[in-house]
Each structure stands twice: as structure tokens, then as C-alpha cells.
């Protein structure tokens, strides 16, 4: 080949646009090139997948005949209709043409990937390439798949053979093949019927080398990235199947996921390897050290890590590294000028690449450099600044380099939109009638709060005109953006209000909160900022009342719509208000008939059915239990009220996910009500800035995960301050003397002479890979028992503290507090003085309880239930001892008090009833999760510094994620 046409891999290698421009402007379009192009086009015409055979406009919603495969049928495909959307058609085309029917289909949440898969399967079927099919899917969406394939794509009723758990029994592959029958072709055995199988069962199957399925579909394939647990087993099974498929020349395999990773790029490697290497080597998916894997695996991993991911393990680090690389390669001169001008040259040279990131950010944010024009956008004609260019290249490296190397992932073009309304309640001890502020354009204006008491909004008086805050901002912002203008105004108002209220410090305990809120608003997307409401409320009347009035107003405003009302389920008993709110709503004559209660006692599916039923089109579902926030199909509603905002971004995302999904017919509206003096206010401002609730990127999981993954939590044991930092930053700082020393308080200095070295604390959660049960730790209280979570009486999990002992167990007294004999109705009710003491004093010591027990004369108490003795022995006992709490019929906990015996990988059998009784029970495995949630809740509790650290830390985290959001949002799609 002529050297002129040789492409080199640089940071631009992944941008088709840049590559094309290189060709277009640098290489002459010669006769030879034109001829080559013609040849390519001619070759394309011989490609079976170069176009779709079925006209997508012909798909329509009709039931088809039952037959094997999805065939072309006039009754089904007919003419007209708009079932398949253009992005779905394009995904199917690309999947077949570019990925040759093997790879990841990773369009964003709600884009209708099932339909994309339907089109692909139809295309494979009409080409005669799908004589057999297996769909592997999580159990909760299995029926949806059946519906789509059988009804919507005409496979026909009851054609799919469903493989699901029955009475805890897992059918084997051989059972299934016996049931569906097989057809033999050469040495291959194909199932006669298409099969849809629960992934839990699939993971347990033993592979048979003759077993051939032409087309494999795997939904929620990101789970297959896990390197341990049932999904790791499923990946091995899939890889084995691919070996046969390769032999048979039928490599079609559709892996579907909306979230190929959750901020951790390292975790995506197994998927990447599977796709890149057409299934890879099955043994590489076993649980073992990398050194024991194949050379191919090791080399691919090295390449993925170093070249594709720029050496980064998570998305935030990726951005930092690419940013550094782009600036150093393309804008070194400019950077040099900047550093010389600011006198930072030697500083910069002394720093490690990690620490240079801050200088690079400062350089990009400097108007003179970052704002410098470097080109003009050829399509829009708009100026491209140096910073724009850097961000665009990072975006290209991520979207086209990392993601699209193995998947079809199109820029999000969801037809439905989200409208986000954030209500911030600002409690005060007294609200002034008016305050005078320096408003926009440095003009003095008066803000009138006189109507606030009656539920009105603050009004800005501009001359004789009275404007709402947001109208004032929108109308008079001048050159400022809405966000900038609003931030400025809010800052001025808050400062005035704070100065006017003598109680400010006792109500708003986090110093620096005004700047925090103003900064968050300044970076909030304009559309959200325009629907941000700021409401001062009298503390004496309580934020609670104002929230209630606001919620009632919203509910009445949507009088004919279904509405979901969520609360914070992480809060302690005293702060749980859903019962109170529900009772109050039931007393409202206009609303009472609309209320449906979703509590822990109710059957989720029954509640779903009632809520979605036609006759309840104005239903208000008061969600009292967290189980409704995951997995429930409530998309008949398009309105959510977050009556309380939870600080866990994933939990918030789950709430929105109830309605912002496929099947949603309307634009979605999300209302969030938050008290600015509480954690929820700070969390809402943070979410608003990072675009968690509003973002249409479909990458909420990544946004939520960006602050969590690969983070290390550190704690000062003297003052209790908690700091979160990336693992890399932690490793860097560890090398430096004093970098991790806490001197937040003098006591930290005194404790160890020159400050207290902050200690890493474990922040592992343990999650069951089958039922999803999570054993969570809080930073100050440790791991709480997951028995009877709903009653809020959660005891601390215990351990003997012996070296090598990895068994943990529920505290004995906690178990007794759940014992039916001691509870109401039990014959020991009220008779146990130790239990009484425990209920009065939750942190009562074991020795005290044992003393009480020893001094107690109650003969009715079984010896084996006495507190006496070692708690662990009394709960789990020695084998054959009997009478222990975990075997006792009276144990009212679920699960019963139980010792988790962790193995050397920190895995334990899940004790939950559904899991523990099954033949292949689930395992609790460590996951670094909810770290960010843990972090901000702990940060909130730390107030020795007046809260300054809280505002500063959370602000910094918000800025990091905002960077990620910008990159995710910048996806211009793949350039061809």
C-alpha cells in the first residue's frame, strides 16, 4: 500500500470526522482513490448485511402467527406504521453491517433496545441464519421479552420455551433440550424451539460441546463483566457456546445493555475481550488470577488498559488523562505561555502528571487560553475554542474510542423529554417583608417576601413591575446565562436573608452554604435552572408544612394524571414522614380517592396493576417502601414527586427510572422538594448540577458512579472527619510524607504530636448475586444487621476479633428483640429485664445485659435464650448443640440471626430465605458501592469545622462529575 494512505493511531484515531478531514485536506483525491471507492461500493453490494431486507416502516403492532423464527409475513410486516423508530433502524443496520451480528447493542436507557433486537432477529431470520435462538435475560424482564418477540414481532403465542425457576429448582440444559426436542445436523444439536432462559439458570448450565444455537441474545449484558459470581459463570457458558458457534460459522450474538459500565472502565474489560475475541477463551472467564489466564487475554487487557483507556481505570481518571494528553500534544505552546505568564513553570515541572491536572484545568479555564478560537465548526459555523476542542477530543476518545470499539451506541435521541422542577425551601426564624439587593446589572432591586407566608413566591420589584424570581432572571440577565444570573441573584438574596435572621447559624449549620448553593446553580443546566424555585419558609411553621402545601398544589395541578410520591427510605424512624403525609393526603377530600399506598406489606405486582389500570388514571401512589423504587413498572405515570430527596444518586436514578423508560407515552415531569438546611437540600443542588435528574444522556449510572468507583474513604480517628479520594490520588498521597495527616482540629495534632494520619476505612458493601440483598456499612456504626430492616431496629453485626475469624453474626440481644416469645402476644412479653434495658438503651453493653440476665429470677426463660454465654455461640452454636437462635422457630427475624461465614475471597452464602433454601443459593460478594452516598452522609455528620469541609468537598465532587457530564453530553455520534 502506498504510504500516503497509512493511518496512524493518535488521539484522533477514533474520530472519523478528523480522519476524514485529514484525508480530505491533506491527501489528494486522485483517480486511484476514486476507483478504490467504487470498488468498495461494489463490494458492499455483495454484503448480505449491507442493507435491511425488511422495510422498517412495515413493522406494525399486530399479533402474528406462531412459527419458528421471525419471518416475513405480510400480516405482520404489512405496510405503513411507525413501530420502529429511525434510531432503532439505524442501530440494527449498524449492528449487522459493522459488527456482523456479533457485539454489544448499547443504546441508552429507554431507547427500545428490545425492538432493535427484534429487528435484528427478523433480519437474521429472513436470511435463514436463525434456525435456533436462545434469549438469556434476568427473570424480572423475561415476560417483557416474551411479549415483544411473540406478540410484537410475530413469533406467535407460546412459541418461546420459557425456562424459569420453579419451587427453587433449576432446570438443567439437558432437561430443557429433552423438553423442546433437538434437531441434529452433523455433529451439532439444535433445540427445536426458541428458548428464553432466566440468567440465573443459564449460569448453572453445564456446557455440551455439540449444543448449537445460531443466535444468542443476552439482555443486561453488563452484569457479565463481573469477574466472580453467577454472571461470571454465565460468561463462561457463553464463551463455551461461542466456540461451537464459531465452528458452525454462526457467530451471531447480541449483547444488550444500556450501561456498559458504571464509571469503572476496568470492569468493562471482560465484555470488551469477549467481543473483540469473538467469545474469547472460555477458561479466561473462570475465577482466577490474571497470571493464570491465556496470553491473548493478558495482551488484550494490556492493550485495552494502556491504549484504549489511556491507562485510566475509571471515567473521571480517563477524562483527566486524555485531557492531559491532548493538551500536551496539541497545545503545548499555549500551555507553556500560560505557565510562564502565571509563574507556574517550575511548579508544573515539579509535579507528577497526576498533580499537573489541576494546572491543565486552570489553563483551560483561563479565558485567554481556553477561550481562544482554534477553528470554526464546519456545520454550525460557530467558533470552536481551544477548550471546546479539548473536550471534543476527550468525548471522541470516550464515545468512539472506548465505547464504539465494541458496541453500537448511538447518541441519545429519546423522543420523550424530562422536565425537572426543583423546590428549595429555605427555613428562617423570621422572614423579612422585603430585602434590598444588588441585582443584575449592578442595579438595586427589592425582593418582596410578603406573599410567601400564604404559599406565594418571592417577587422582585423592578420599578413598578413585579416579577417572579425566575422571570426577573430571564428578562434582565443581559449577557449572563440564566444559570449565571440566577446564581448571582440567589447569592445576593441568601446573603441578605442570612444577615437579617439572627437564628441563621443555628438553622443553617454548614458554613459556606450560600456559596455552595450559588455555585451549584451557576453550573446547573439552564433548563433546570429555569424551573428552580426558591422559597423562604418560617421555621416555626416548619418546612414540613410548606412542603406539604407545595405537594398538594402539584397533585391538584395534575388532577387527571397518575403521580408517584417518593420519600427518603434511608432515614431513621424519627424522620420517616410518609405515614404522616399519607394520612394528611387522605384527609383531603379532593385527593383521598386518588391515593394508593405502596407499603412493605402490599404485593408490588398488585399495586402495579392497580396503579396502571385504566380506571385509576388519576392515581397517586404513595411509595412507603424502597422496593417500589427498583424493578416496578409504573410508566403509566409520567409525574414524580420526590417529597424527600435521598442523598444516594443511584437511588434517585432508580426513582426516575420507574417512569422514564420504554413505554412512556408522555414527557416526564420530576418535582423535588428539599430543605436547604438539611442534607437533602445540598444533595438536590448537587444532583441538579451534575444533571442526574435532568440529563438525557442516559448515563445516570455513570454520573452516579463517577464519584463512587475506585474511591477510598479515609477517616481521622481523632476528630472523625471523613474524606473521600480516588484510589490513584490516595496512592499518590501515600507516597508523600504528611499528605494524609489530619489537622482539622487541635485534638488531631495533639493526639499524635503532629497531626493524626487519616486511616483508610473499609467501605465494602456485600451484595447477594442472586437476590440482591445488600449488607451495608456506615462509616461510624459499621455493618448493620439486615434482618428486619423495615422495622428500623437494626443491630450491629459482630465478630470475635480473633485473627483469621471471618464469621460475622447478629448481636444476640438484637435477635432476642425479634423473638416472638418476647414480643407482643408471646408468653414472655414484658418479662425480660435485659430486653427492656436494651429497648431503653440501644448501646447497652453485653456485660451489663449478662449481669441483668444473671440476676434475673425468671424461671420461664429458657436457658438457651439467656443472654449468658458467648453471643456467637448462643446464636449459631456448635454443631449439634441445638437450641440456638438461628434454628429457633420463635426467631421472628428474616433472615434469622445468622453467622455469615466468609471465605478467603470474602464471599458468604446468602442467608436470605429465598436464597439459602435453594440448591444453588446466592452468594454475598463484596462490592465497592454506595461509597459516595456513604461519604456524603458521613461528611454531613461531621460538623467540628462548622460544616465548611462539607460544602467544599461536595462542591469539588460536583465539579468532577460535571466534567463527566459534559463529556457524556458532547457525543456527536459516530462519524462515518
Amino acid at each position: 500500500m502506498d504510504e500516503n494512505y497509512k493511518l496512524t493511531f493518535t488521539d484522533t484515531a477514533f474520530s472519523a470526522d478528523i480522519q476524514r478531514s485529514n484525508l480530505q485536506y491533506k491527501k489528494k483525491f486522485t483517480k486511484q482513490v476514486a476507483e478504490a471507492q467504487q470498488s468498495v461500493e461494489a463490494l458492499d453490494s455483495h454484503d448480505d448485511f449491507h442493507e435491511l431486507l425488511i422495510d422498517c416502516s412495515h413493522y406494525k403492532r399486530r399479533k402474528g402467527k406462531a412459527e419458528y423464527g421471525i419471518g416475513v409475513d405480510a400480516d405482520i410486516h404489512g405496510t405503513g406504521g411507525s413501530v420502529i423508530l429511525s434510531h432503532q433502524q439505524s442501530a440494527a443496520e449498524k449492528f449487522l453491517r459493522d459488527l456482523r451480528g456479533f457485539g454489544l447493542l448499547a443504546d441508552v436507557v429507554g431507547s427500545g433496545k428490545t425492538f432493535e433486537a427484534g429487528v435484528i432477529l427478523s433480519e437474521l431470520a429472513v436470511r435463514g441464519k436463525m434456525k435456533s435462538l436462545i434469549v438469556v435475560t434476568p427473570d424480572q424482564v423475561l415476560n417483557s421479552w416474551v411479549d415483544v418477540l411473540e406478540n410484537k414481532f410475530g413469533m406467535g403465542k407460546d412459541v418461546l420455551y420459557k425456562v424459569q425457576k420453579s419451587d427453587g429448582e433449576y432446570p438443567t440444559l439437558q432437561d430443557v433440550l429433552a423438553a423442546v426436542g433437538v434437531s441434529k445436523q452433523g455433529k451439532f444439536i439444535r433445540p427445536k424451539r426458541p428458548i428464553i432462559v432466566d440468567v440465573d439458570i443459564f449460569a448453572q448450565w453445564r456446557y455440551s460441546p455439540d449444543f448449537l444455537v445460531d443466535v444468542v441474545v443476552v439482555d443486561e449484558a453488563h452484569h457479565f463483566s463481573e469477574d466472580a459470581g453467577k454472571y461470571a459463570g454465565a460468561m463462561r457458558m457463553l464463551s463455551e457456546m461461542m466456540q461451537t458457534k464459531k465452528r458452525a460459522g454462526a457467530t451471531y450474538c447480541l449483547l444488550l445493555t444500556a450501561t456498559p459500565h458504571s464509571g469503572n472502565l476496568e470492569n468493562m474489560f471482560r465484555l470488551w475481550y469477549f467481543v473483540r475475541c469473538k467469545g474469547g477463551n472460555p477458561s479466561d472467564f473462570d475465577e482466577k488470577d490474571d497470571s493464570e489466564r491465556t496470553t491473548q487475554y493478558i495482551e488484550e487487557k494490556q492493550y485495552y488498559k494502556d491504549t484504549v483507556c489511556y491507562g485510566a481505570t475509571n471515567i473521571t481518571d480517563f477524562i483527566r488523562r486524555v485531557k492531559y494528553s491532548v493538551v500536551m500534544e496539541r497545545y503545548l505552546d499555549e500551555l507553556g505561555s500560560y505557565l510562564r505568564e502565571t509563574g507556574k513553570v517550575s511548579d508544573f515541572n515539579d509535579k507528577s502528571p497526576y498533580d499537573r491536572a489541576q494546572y491543565i484545568d486552570d489553563f483551560l479555564n483561563a479565558a485567554k487560553y481556553g477561550g481562544k478560537k482554534v477553528s470554526t465548526d464546519k456545520i454550525t459555523g460557530l467558533t470552536v475554542t481551544l477548550k471546546d476542542d479539548v473536550l471534543k477530543r476527550i468525548s471522541d476518545a470516550y464515545h468512539n474510542g472506548v465505547l464504539r470499539s465494541i458496541m453500537i451506541r448511538q447518541p441519545n435521541k429519546l423522543s420523550k423529554r424530562k422536565s425537572v422542577h426543583n423546590y428549595f425551601f429555605y427555613p428562617m426564624s423570621s422572614i423579612p417583608e422585603t430585602v434590598s439587593i444588588t441585582g443584575l446589572n449592578e442595579k438595586k432591586v427589592t425582593v418582596d417576601f410578603s406573599h410567601v407566608a400564604e404559599g406565594g413566591q418571592p417577587v422582585v420589584k423592578v420599578g413598578s413591575e413585579e416579577l417572579s424570581l425566575i422571570d426577573y432572571v430571564k428578562n434582565l440577565r443581559g449577557n449572563l446565562s440564566v444559570e449565571q444570573a440566577y446564581s448571582h441573584v440567589l447569592n445576593s438574596i441568601l446573603n441578605k436573608l442570612a444577615a437579617s435572621d439572627p437564628q441563621t447559624k443555628s438553622i443553617h449549620t454548614k458554613s459556606g452554604y450560600i456559596t455552595y448553593y450559588a455555585d451549584r446553580l451557576r453550573n446547573t443546566h439552564g433548563a433546570v435552572a429555569k424551573q428552580t424555585y426558591f422559597l423562604p419558609v418560617l421555621q416555626s411553621e416548619s418546612v414540613k408544612d410548606s412542603k406539604f402545601q407545595t405537594a398538594v398544589r402539584i397533585l391538584k395541578q395534575h388532577k387527571d394524571k397518575r403521580v408517584l410520591v417518593f420519600f427518603d427510605y434511608n432515614l431513621g424512624k424519627s424522620e420517616r414522614i410518609y405515614d404522616e403525609v399519607c394520612d394528611a393526603l387522605l384527609r383531603d377530600p379532593e385527593l383521598k380517592d386518588r391515593i394508593i399506598v405502596g407499603d412493605d406489606a402490599a404485593d408490588v405486582h398488585a399495586v402495579e396493576r392497580e396503579f396502571n389500570s385504566e380506571k385509576r388514571s388519576d392515581a397517586i401512589l404513595i411509595v412507603k417502601d424502597a422496593k417500589y423504587t427498583e424493578g416496578a413498572n409504573l410508566q403509566e405515570s409520567s409525574i414524580i414527586i420526590n417529597y424527600q430527596v435521598t442523598y444516594d444518586p443511584l437511588a434517585m436514578d432508580q426513582r426516575i427510572g420507574r417512569i422514564f423508560r420504554l413505554g412512556q407515552k408522555n414527557d416526564v415531569t420530576v418535582y423535588s422538594l428539599a430543605d436547604m438546611s438539611k442534607l437533602e437540600g445540598f444533595a438536590l443542588a448537587y444532583f441538579a448540577e451534575i444533571g442526574l435528574l435532568s440529563g438525557n444522556t442516559g448515563d445516570a449510572t455513570i454520573l452516579a458512579g463517577s464519584n463512587s468507583d475506585q474511591m477510598v474513604a479515609l477517616r481521622c480517628n481523632a476528630c472523625g472527619r471523613v474524606v473521600l479520594m480516588s484510589k490513584e490520588a490516595y496512592d499518590e498521597k501515600r507516597k508523600k510524607k504528611d499528605a494524609l495527616v489530619c489537622r482539622a482540629e487541635t485534638q488531631c495534632i495533639d493526639a499524635y504530636g503532629n497531626g493524626t494520619e487519616m486511616c483508610e476505612i473499609t467501605v465494602y458493601d456485600f451484595k447477594c448475586d442472586s437476590c440482591g440483598t445488600v449488607l451495608t456499612r456506615s462509616v461510624s456504626d459499621g455493618y448493620m444487621c439486615f434482618s428486619n430492616v423495615e422495622n428500623g431496629e437494626r443491630g450491629r453485626m459482630c465478630n470475635s476479633g480473633e485473627k483469621g475469624d471471618r464469621s460475622i453474626y447478629c448481636r444476640k440481644i438484637c435477635a432476642i428483640s425479634h423473638c416472638k416469645r418476647f414480643n407482643k402476644g408471646g408468653h414472655m412479653y414484658g418479662k425480660c429485664p435485659a430486653l427492656k434495658r436494651f429497648k431503653d438503651v440501644s448501646n447497652v453493653s453485653d456485660v451489663e445485659l449478662m449481669r441483668i440476665c444473671a440476676m434475673c429470677d425468671n424461671e420461664d426463660c429458657w436457658d438457651k435464650c439467656k443472654i449468658a454465654g458467648l453471643p456467637k455461640e448462643q446464636i449459631i452454636g456448635e454443631a449439634g448443640e441445638g437450641g440456638r437462635c438461628s434454628d429457633c422457630d420463635y426467631a421472628g427475624c428474616s433472615p434469622k440471626p445468622y453467622a455469615l461465614e466468609f471465605n478467603d475471597k470474602w464471599e458468604a452464602d446468602c442467608p436470605m430465605p429465598g436464597c439459602s433454601t435453594r440448591r444453588n443459593h446466592g452468594k454475598l460478594r463484596p462490592v465497592v458501592a454506595r461509597t459516595f452516598a456513604t461519604f456524603i452522609s458521613e461528611l454531613w455528620k461531621f460538623d467540628h469545622d462548622g460544616g465548611e469541609g462539607f460544602c467544599q468537598n461536595l462542591g469539588e465532587q460536583a465539579e468532577i462529575v460535571t466534567d463527566v457530564r459534559r463529556i457524556l453530553e458532547r457525543d456527536d455520534g459516530e462519524k462515518e
Binding site: R715, N717, D846
Partner: protein, 666 residues
Amino acid sequence: MSKQSVHIALDLGSDTIKIAYAFNDGDEHTGKIVGDPLTMTAVPSVAYYDVDEQKWLFGDEVNSVGDKPFITVVKICDLLRLLQPAANTATQKSNRNYYFKKTRFPKFYFPQRVRLTDDMDEAVRMDRTFTAPQTPSEVCEMFFKYVHGVVENRLEKLLKKSNATAEITPSLVYPMFSDNAYINELKRLVTLAFDTKPQSVMSMAKALCAYAKYSGRMAKDDKSIIFNIGEERISLVKVTFSGSGISVDGVDGHNEPAPIGGKDIDDAVAQYIEGQMSGRETMGRPSSGQEGHLSESALNTKQYLFVKDIKSAKMVLGMPIYDSRAFRYGVPISASRDLLIQRTITREQFEKCVGITDNNGVARKIVNYITDELIRPINTDVKRIFITGGPVETYGLMKYIRRFIEPLGVKVCTFEKDDSEYVGVKNDGFNILGHEDALYAPSLGCAVASMCGMTIDMVLALTYGVRLFRVVGNGNNVIPFFRVLVNKGTRIPQSGATYYTPKDGDKGGITTGDDSEQSAAMHIMSTFYSAQDIEHSRKAPLITYARSGGENLLVVDTDNKTMLNKLQREIGLRVLNGSIDNMNNGSRAKYYYNGKRVRIIKEVYLQLGVEIDGDGYAKAYARNDKKRNGGEFTVIEYLGDSKYSGRETVQKREIDFAFNIETQLT
């Protein structure tokens, strides 16, 4: 409903306040008052400031704090300690100001890595305090009101059977070496809370003696030493039981109180437990010894619970109930980490960590202290010692002490009853149980003394004197000698007494003049020799005596180090003021007029003496001898800018003397 007069005695300790009662309704009744009879040995003497609710919780209420940090737990004792004498007058003044006027409180720390400073100003500077809306004085008032509530409530229950109500007569035990300010404040707090003045106010020493008498533990003419092991230090008192009553020797014993006590045992246990946990598994992390292992250390805010566990375990291990099934595997101690680490400690492990097994550590320090005292010549007549205080209940400790002390021919006793006396005694929450009696000895003694109208006399254990000079021979020879101010064995009035400078014939040290800016070096001293010993005996042949004016003089030459060492060893001579070194300014008095430093031109008489309070606590002083200086005048010069100037004539009796008395016992 009849009124029953109940005598209550309060003994405020570092962790708990022991409240004993005594009344006589024909029969004598004694016992204890606690909050919750099932869980408590005494009422916790702590307060907790709930930052969220901005309110104080007291005693047992502190247990209801839940999961909040315990950094704002304060010990009432630590607050009152602000009134005790401090290193210097300025600190003392400042500390008292904090107690009455400021709103700062010491934070809770454990283990003793970060110690409380004696200077509250310093504690504030070092951020070892927190702020609350009240002053320490107000918080103490609230605490004593809480105590009063507990007492009333419990007495109501106690007297329910006899259909009587209580007329409470409070009494008070205070720790040894307490300052008047401390005692007066305690009296004020009790008076305020109980609405009546405390009837008996006695030192720990007297209270213990009262208990000894009441419990019939001492034989006639017995000379015993009572060693009191408190939470923070060990101290002693010498007691003689005569037929007519008890004499308690002055508490200013030759062996200074040592900073060893219950806290050191707590520390030892804490270190033992922490040491055992260091290799434990941390959830989700590799095991100890492997890369990536984490050894998560304690969060200070939870340490209060850890200390409580240790204290409870310590007590349980000493209980006879220990062998029942409740604690058959040992006593649990929990530490807060990512999991609640439930360790147990057995008697054997406990003996090991306290040092009993290996003959070192805290146990050994206590034994050494006792031995040092017993081998002094002054104590050769002691054939029995009593050990009291909370740590007596510490398992194995008494046995260990006996192992070392009894070979000296000294019997080691406690104020505990025999375990047999508790057989069949049902715990009704008022009985003092087998593992509590040593703890309650002082308060019970005080309550009984109050009930019986018992008084206890104090007899000085030491002789106090001053070093003076006598010119002998042709006038060229000056003998420095020891002049007795007050002899040992002197009975001290309940209100205390003052003894000061001697006969007119003695020269030196008591007058000054002629251009001097400070007195000649002078010393106030103590010894276990009496004037009679000096005059008539030569028990200690190595000591130098001189004869002058028909009087035998004990020569004390402070320049002769060998002689001083001999005196120290033979007769226990100790210096109570300044330094024994002549050249040291600490042994010289400086002169002041109207608060300003001056130089004296004409001779002024100076009085040296000891003030001895009702408990025998002696304090040396130097002051103007106004009687002798009468209406005479002297000339002074003021010290300004390091120079004396501005000569003035003033009355001699208006001259003040500042005498550096730093080495006295505190």
C-alpha cells in the same frame, strides 16, 4: 404517714457518685442508693451535652445517647477539679473563673493518650474543650439536683413498706487533699440540691475510720494504715483506734500520693484488648500480614462505650457471681470497629494484663507504693493495713498484694465483708453487695457517722518545724538547726490550727532588713521526729546535734548534702517550702508593698508557720509578723525597670512577703 429521718452520704468519685444511707427506726438500716438496681453499682457522675438538642443529660441518662458521639461526656469531678489548687496562683484564679463564669467543658478522651491539662486556659488553647450554654458551676448544680431526684425517688421505694416518707439529711465525703474552695463548693451544691446544709462533712480518711469503727474492724490501740486506691491515685492515712475513739494521723504522709489507680488498670485492659484485635480480619480486606490488610483503629467518639465495658468487666471479674453460667466463658468487652468486636476477658487474661501474672505493670506499682511506706521507720508499729477504693474489687489484686506485704509481718485487710455474709442476700437494689462494699466504705462511714453523731479526731503524724540559726560560742559560730513548731501526736481541732515561729532567742530567718530585697534562705520542714526525740534521744546516731542554752539542737546544714541525705533517711526530714539549696530563690521570701516589689531598708519581722486543717493537711506559709512589727516604720524602695528607687517610709506591718512554696504536697 410518718417521717423517717434518713442520713444520706454522698461520695463523689471520678466515675460515679456513691450514695449510702443510714437510718434508725429501732433497728439500724444501711445501704446504697442507685438509679437502676439491676444495672448499676453507683450513680454515674457524668454529664453529657447533647449538641443537637442543646441540653444536658446526667448519670444514667447518658446511656440513652444512642449512636451520637460521646466526645461531650464530662465528668463532674473534672469540673470541680477546677477549684483545686493549681500550679500557680494565676492558673488557679483562671481555673476558678472557668468554673464559675465561663462556658467551656473538657472533651472526653480515652485512652489517656491525650491527657487533661491542669490549666483550663491551656485546654482551651489546645481545643480540648467544647462550649455549652451553661457554666461548669451550673452544670454541677444540675447534676446534684439530678442526684437529689434519684435519692428521693429511691427512698420513696425503700420506705414504701414502712409507710414512711423520708426526711433527708445529707452528708458529704470529700477526697483527701481537697482545697477549701472545693469543699465549700461541694457543700453549696449539696445545700442547693437538698435544700439543707450537709450535716457531716468529712474527708475520705475520717469517713473510712468511721466505717472501720462501725463495722468493728479495728482492735483497741491498733495502729493501721489505710491505703486508698482511687481512680487516679493512691494515697494513705495512718489510724489509731483507742478505747475512746479513733485518731487519724495527719494525711501529709511521707509517701506522696502516686498517680496510680483504677484508670491505669482500665488502660492496661484496653491495651490488652486492642493488642489482641490488631490482627483481626477487616471486612472485605486481605488477612493480617498480607498486602492490603487494614487494621482499622478506634474512633475516639465511641471510646466512652469501650471504657464503660472495661469498667464493668473489671467489676464482674471480682464478683462471686462470676462463676455462675452468665460469665462462664469470661466477661465480654466490645470495641467499635466496622463490626462490633466482641471479645471476652477471663480472670487469667485479666491477671496477665494487669501485671499480676508476670509481676509487673500496674499491680507491681501499687505493691511498690505500699511497701515503700511500710518499710519506713515511722511505720514500724503498723501491723495491719487496710486497702480500700474501687480497685480493691479488682480480681486477683488483693491476693497479689498480700503475697508481697504479709511476709513483712503486716496483715492486709479490706473493708469488704466475707463472701459468706452475702449468701442468700437478695439484691433489692439497696443492699451493698459483696463486690461493692469496699467502694461504699467511705460513704457508708459518713452516713453512719452522721446518724450516730460520731466525731473523729485528727492527730498529727508528723512534726513540723522551721530551720533557724543560733549564735553560739564567741559569736563567730552560727548553728543552723531545726526548731519545732508543732509536734507529732498533737490533736488538731476539727476546724484546724496554725503553728508559727518560735522563741525570741532564735535568730535568722525571721527578721530581715538593711538593704535587702529578699529574706535569707529559710525552710519549713517536716519530720517524724518529735521535740522529745531531739531533746532526749539519740536514736539516730548519725545525726548531728549541738547543745546551746541548755537545749539540744538538731543541726540542719542545707549546704551539707550528706547530712541532708542522712536526715531524710533517718528521721524523714523533708522541706515543705522552696528548695533545700540555699542559693535557690525559692527558699527566700520577697517583699511587697501594695502589690509592688520593694526593698526593705530597716528590719522587719517575718513569721513562718504551718496551717493545718481539720484533716491534718499542713500548708507552710510566710507572712508579716504584725504583732511584733507593731506600729513601727521602715523605709522601702520600689522596684521599677529593674532598679530600686522612690524611697518611702511605711508601717512595717504593711509589708507583704511572698514565699515560694512549690514543693508542698498536692
